[in-house]
Symmetry: C2
Subunit: 226 residues, 2 copies
């Protein structure tokens, strides 16, 4: 029997790679994206293309407007920081951090997983070449997994453990790209930029664009999409 998995799909390169990895492990993928008031909502088009290209069983987009709370450069009127190189990316937690975003995303994934009877949830968090977000760290994921197993009726009834899978957590951006290319991911479908232009072109200078560029550069590959 094919195992069902819920996968958080952003339209960026990390979650596309996780998709390919989960698929290679034989999971049937239920992809979940969010329109959360992000300034880079164009990533949702990319998510749809990735879901289609990689063969999602279903792709849902949840509407949750986090502009209700603000508090981030991605959901409020705060400028996204721009740099010329990865080495210029500041220390500490950047203003692109969205309060409790991964907690909210994983909670929705958990709700869908329970309705589907799926015990596996995949998320593309990464604790190496990342932006310093607290909710990308392994200790957060572990604590969420413990909580998820106490939160839901199906985990208690089935006596089966819910797992939050983070296959990228210890990979560099270059390793992630290499892995995805091996598995046939078409990165041209993805977009990583936090602050794209009005016609959907990446800015090339936000943290996310710079980390992506570094990953492609280290693999000596030209990034057509970004």
């Amino acid at each position: 029997m094919t195992k069902k998995a819920v996968l958080l799909l952003s339209g960026g390169l990390d979650s596309a790679t996780v998709f390919a990895i989960a698929k290679a492990h034989g999971y049937e993928i239920y992809a979940l994206s969010f329109r959360y008031g992000q300034r880079h909502a164009i990533e949702l088009e990319a998510a749809s293309h990735v879901a289609k290209a990689l063969g999602a069983k279903e792709h849902k987009i949840a509407e949750i407007d986090l502009r209700l709370f603000g508090g981030s450069a991605l959901t409020a009127n705060i400028d996204v920081p721009k740099h010329n190189a990865v080495s210029e990316i500041g220390e500490g937690i950047p203003v692109t951090y969205v309060p409790a975003r991964n907690t909210i995303f994983l909670s929705f994934a958990l709700a869908w997983a329970e309705v589907l009877g799926a015990f596996d949830i995949f998320i593309g968090v990464n604790a190496l070449d990342y932006s310093g977000y607290p909710d990308c760290r392994p200790e957060f994921i572990e604590a969420f997994e413990v909580m998820a197993n106490k939160a839901t009726a199906y985990a208690i009834d089935a006596k089966q453990r819910i797992s939050i899978h983070t296959p990228l957590i210890n990979m560099s951006k270059a390793q992630i790209i290499r892995k995805g290319l091996e598995l046939g991911v078409d990165y041209d479908l993805t977009i990583s930029c936090y602050d794209p232009t009005s016609d959907g072109k990446p800015c090339g200078k936000c943290d996310s664009c710079l980390l992506r560029a570094m990953g492609f550069h280290e693999n000596k590959i030209i990034d057509v999409a970004n």
Copy 2:
């Protein structure tokens, strides 16, 4: 300095009582309600009345349509069970359970708490006279609290612990009502029914109506609202 707290406010009697308790402890209340596709959306009007009557500093209603996933009598086309007495309420987890609902609600509360810099979150869960929901149990709340402290930048930066307060967790429905009356809660503003009529009247036979009736009866008080 007044301490800020985020409070999950449903429009029912439990969360109104929690509001009064938190206020009595000196907290400034930021009340959060959800339009989640529930069939009893009339509870949001009740929530607004309670927020006003008890003096919320702010009241936000988040729009998160959980009909996207379904899987519950409250968000899908499944009948709400009706009974004639509390003793008839079935064993096990009822179909009114909404998968991961409190996880999602608390995640949103956490997001707002982080933006506000509030370290206290109040929720009216109750493990005695309740409907058997897994996400109303103390072990779930404790696991959520642990997770919340690993999920957010402000808890890490401030080295201050986020607390999830559940003042009703070990109280019977009758005790909750007695406490609320002592603190001046006007229960006529609240509605507890899972399946109200089209003109907003409680059905009187769902688990929530029956538990409420029992609580008023044990206090020898007439419930005008339900």
